[in-house]
């Protein structure tokens, strides 16, 4: 553990991207070769409203250091209203996580359209930077994993 601790901190970041806007935005970032750290791993969901708070907490439990949810811009949801519900749910959930003392910077929602490859890459760079500055997520993870 002591050796690992000296290594550069590489956070684990899970990004939930809606299929229609943000996943396509991430594809565009890829085809435009707009790099962002490999720490970000994307899970494709049909819509930001498919993201259950359970998934987010589970990610943290399993050792994620940051979770970001990306969807279509409000008003542009492929399913018309999905991101409006996602927006309320995530606002309340993030507020609750903040309330129990989890750093609010570890969770984020960003609206990225299919045309915003640049924004996707910039957002991920920024988010990774933020998580790096926050350091390892010791408040939420499954402590059993610590010394394995």
């Amino acid at each position: 553990m002591s050796i690992e601790a000296k290594e550069e901190f590489r956070p684990k970041i899970v990004a939930f991207c809606c299929n229609w806007c943000s996943y396509a935005g991430a594809d565009l970032a890829g085809s435009s070769r707009l790099s962002y750290p490999a720490d970000v791993k994307i899970i494709r969901v049909p819509c930001s409203c498919r993201v259950n708070p359970m998934f987010i907490l589970r990610a943290f439990e399993k050792g994620a250091d940051g979770v970001i949810i990306c969807g279509c811009h409000p008003g542009d949801c492929h399913y018309t209203t999905g991101n409006f519900y996602a927006r309320r749910r995530m606002t309340l959930l993030f507020s609750m996580l903040d309330f129990i003392g989890v750093e609010s910077g570890r969770t984020r929602v960003e609206w990225v359209s299919a045309a915003e490859g640049v924004k996707f890459s910039a957002t991920m760079n920024e988010f990774v930077e933020k998580i790096r500055s926050l350091g390892k997520n010791v408040r939420l993870e499954d402590l059993r994993c610590q010394n394995v």
Partner: protein
């Protein structure tokens, strides 16, 4: 337990150059359920697909993971391949190791590590996949075209000629659009009206085309093959069945001070008006905001002079509800406002005009009856300066970042026409680049220079200064000579950038079609699906998708029509099987899910259930597969987890989360 095969694609060097594909395949074999793993040059090639099919048959695979490009690219390819080998297509998962990995990471070790994780997540998911079968939905054999410019007219004609009903919705009182405002067209100098009017007439006369002018789309519900649209027919105040189009009302109307939209405000029109002589339908509308009768209650001249008794002040907006199988957006463009460009003195001098205003000045039906004259004093100009790229290719927030594409050509056209008709007028064009890709385009531009003596100067204009004598001092630069130029001109013409019609944002929202930051509608694929929106059943025609000239617009309009016809020709559509389902043993029947369903796909029924021996009647949520589009909003609203989404189930997503955080 599944028998999973993992196929890692090199994509030539696109993936293999940054991801150790052999290592990914090797690691795959250590994952639970994986019984086969291989890598290959191009998995999407015929040979690659054959390898997948062979493995499915030989190793009796029950699920496969392809580590390749984005599922948005080849998911369908691999699903079809798997299906041909006897595997349910929904037992295929894609790990996106190109767009989300090899293309954005440079370090091989890091990229390989990430690729392995993405592969693991896909394997974890496919282990929980279940075979899914698509349902069917019907197709309404009718198309809606939003916008009645040349793009909309062409699309409507093509669809109607193929035998389908088409409705055109146009917000202004006449179809025709921007093209009807143009004088001549490049590169052959045809008269715009001469080629457009026959098309307008044809559309109007077509038995399968219904034109709703002075109308707007108000509400869109439904989905591909089965849209329901509310169209607001604004009150015209004139009975379309009675009006004979004699025009007396317009002559007699005492309110004549309204700036004419058609002439870009360079002339005025009456309150009851048709925008131009060839308008279709040739039925005027009363502009209630400027009508004396509507504003003060006293007038009614038009009703008195109308022999046909067509004037109807009581007319109300009417909502027409219609079902459509396909919708084509052809909302077109407008020129940007030049309020922020003080340096060109557009708002200070009447003799600084936009190119579209010049079109009206040059047109025989325009404000000057086609005579080239200064709008300030009516004098014939001797010196005209054209300024290119006004608001195009701007990195600041005054203009647009893109090239408006049509300005180089129409400026060459204007310069040529002026020199042709008025050989004593000097024409100077300040340009940054002259862009003429297109058949006979560069030849056209060269003719302007070589045959017509138009003076092209490489360099921009910094400032236009109105002089006390009414002339305009143009301060520009010649970058080739490296010299600053001060030039007196009588007229300055600005090639203002074009932008999508501002209403398109509202329409895109109704259609849930994606739109970019410049308000251009996004196509499903920039190269391979340029006339389709990512939203199924929505097609794009003309400038709403990106700047285009007339020939391009017409060819895209035809392409959009073909895509729409291809959809309308089908009797049934296969529906997405990734729909929500409710577990009758877990459902509380609490109605929360129906509250968030955008499609009204959830209803409730009292059903006899057998819950581990307890038999009782329970209120249970039921999802209509044909209506459900699979967004998943209901699954999160459901506290008990009874509502789950096929293909993106709670367990599948959690498995992915676990695999990625491992």
């Amino acid at each position: 337990m599944q028998r999973v095969g993992v196929f890692v694609c090199h994509c030539g060097s696109n993936i293999a150059a940054t991801v150790d594909v052999k290592k990914v395949a090797e690691m795959a074999l250590m994952e639970p359920g994986v019984v086969h793993a291989e890598d290959y040059q191009y998995m999407c090639s015929e040979a690659g697909q054959a390898r997948i099919q062979e493995a499915i048959r030989e190793k009796q695979l029950t699920g496969i993971v392809v580590c390749s490009c984005s599922p948005r690219m080849h998911e369908t390819t691999f699903r079809t391949a798997a299906q041909r080998a006897g595997l349910n297509p929904y037992m295929v998962e894609i790990a996106n190791i190109r767009e989300h990995c090899s293309w954005i990471h440079k370090d091989m070790e890091e990229a390989t590590k990430k690729a392995v994780l993405l592969m693991r997540a896909a394997v974890a998911k496919v282990n929980l996949n279940t075979p899914l079968r698509p349902g069917e939905s019907r197709v309404t054999k009718r198309a809606l075209v939003i916008g009645g410019g040349i793009a909309g007219i062409q699309t409507a004609l093509d669809i109607a000629d193929a035998g389908y009903e088409v409705d055109i919705v146009e917000k202004t009182p006449s179809i025709g659009g921007r093209m009807s405002q143009l004088d001549k067209t490049f590169p052959t100098l045809d008269c715009s009206a001469c080629i457009l009017t026959p098309k307008m007439v044809e559309a109007n006369a077509h038995e399968r085309i219904t034109i709703y002018t002075y109308s707007e789309v108000e509400k869109v519900t439904g989905f591909v093959g089965d849209f329901t649209v509310d169209i607001r027919k604004k009150a015209r105040s004139v009975d379309m069945n009675k009006c004979t189009g004699c025009g007396v009302c317009q002559e007699k109307c005492p309110s004549k001070k309204t700036p004419s939209e058609f002439n870009r405000g360079l002339s005025t029109r009456s309150a009851i008006y048709t925008p131009f002589a060839q308008a279709i339908p040739n039925v005027p509308v009363i502009d209630r905001e400027h009508c004396i009768k509507f504003q003060t209650g006293k007038c009614g001249v038009c009703a008195k002079v109308c022999q046909a008794g067509a004037i109807d002040y009581e007319q109300k907006d009417e909502i027409i509800t219609q079902k459509y199988g396909a919708i084509v957006v052809a909302t077109g463009f407008d020129m940007i406002r030049l309020d922020d460009y003080d340096e060109y003195a557009y708002s200070q001098s009447k003799d600084v005009v936009t190119s579209l205003e010049l079109e009206r000045i040059m047109n025989a039906a325009g404000p000057t009856k086609g005579h080239l004259e200064r709008l300030s004093d009516g004098k014939a100009p001797k010196e005209i300066v054209f300024i290119q790229c006004v608001g195009s290719r701007c990195a600041d927030n005054r203009g647009k970042s893109y090239c408006s594409k049509i300005c180089c050509m129409y400026t060459a056209k204007h310069a040529m026409l002026i020199r042709d008709k008025y050989p004593d007028v000097n024409v100077t064009v300040f340009y940054i680049d002259v862009r003429t890709p297109g058949k006979n385009f560069d030849e056209f531009y060269r003719r302007a220079v070589e045959e017509y003596g138009v003076n092209y100067i490489k360099g921009q204009v910094g400032k236009v200064i109105p002089q006390p004598d009414g002339r305009l001092l143009v301060q520009g630069v010649d970058l080739i000579d490296n010299r600053q130029i001060l030039k007196e001109a009588d007229m300055v013409v600005l090639a203002a950038a074009i932008e999508p019609d501002p209403d398109v944002r509202k329409i895109a929202t109704m259609l849930t079609a994606s739109i970019d930051t410049n308000n251009f509608l996004t196509e499903a694929h920039a190269k391979l699906r340029p006339v389709e929106s990512p939203t199924a059943g929505i097609f794009l025609s003309g400038v709403c998708q990106g700047p285009k000239d007339i020939p391009e617009t017409v060819s895209q309009a035809g392409a959009a029509a073909v895509k729409a016809i291809g959809l309308l020709a089908k009797d049934k559509l296969l529906t997405n099987p990734c729909t929500a389902h409710s577990d009758e043993l877990l459902c509380n029947g609490c109605s929360q899910c129906a509250n968030v369903c955008p499609y009204g796909a959830i209803s409730y029924e009292d059903r006899q259930v057998n819950d581990h021996g307890i038999r009782e009647v329970r209120r249970i949520a039921v999802v209509n597969d044909a209506l459900c589009q699979g967004c998943g909003a209901c699954t999160v609203t459901c506290p008990s987890g009874a509502m789950d989404l096929q293909g993106f189930s709670n367990r599948q997503i959690l498995a992915e989360v676990d695999a990625l955080c491992r």
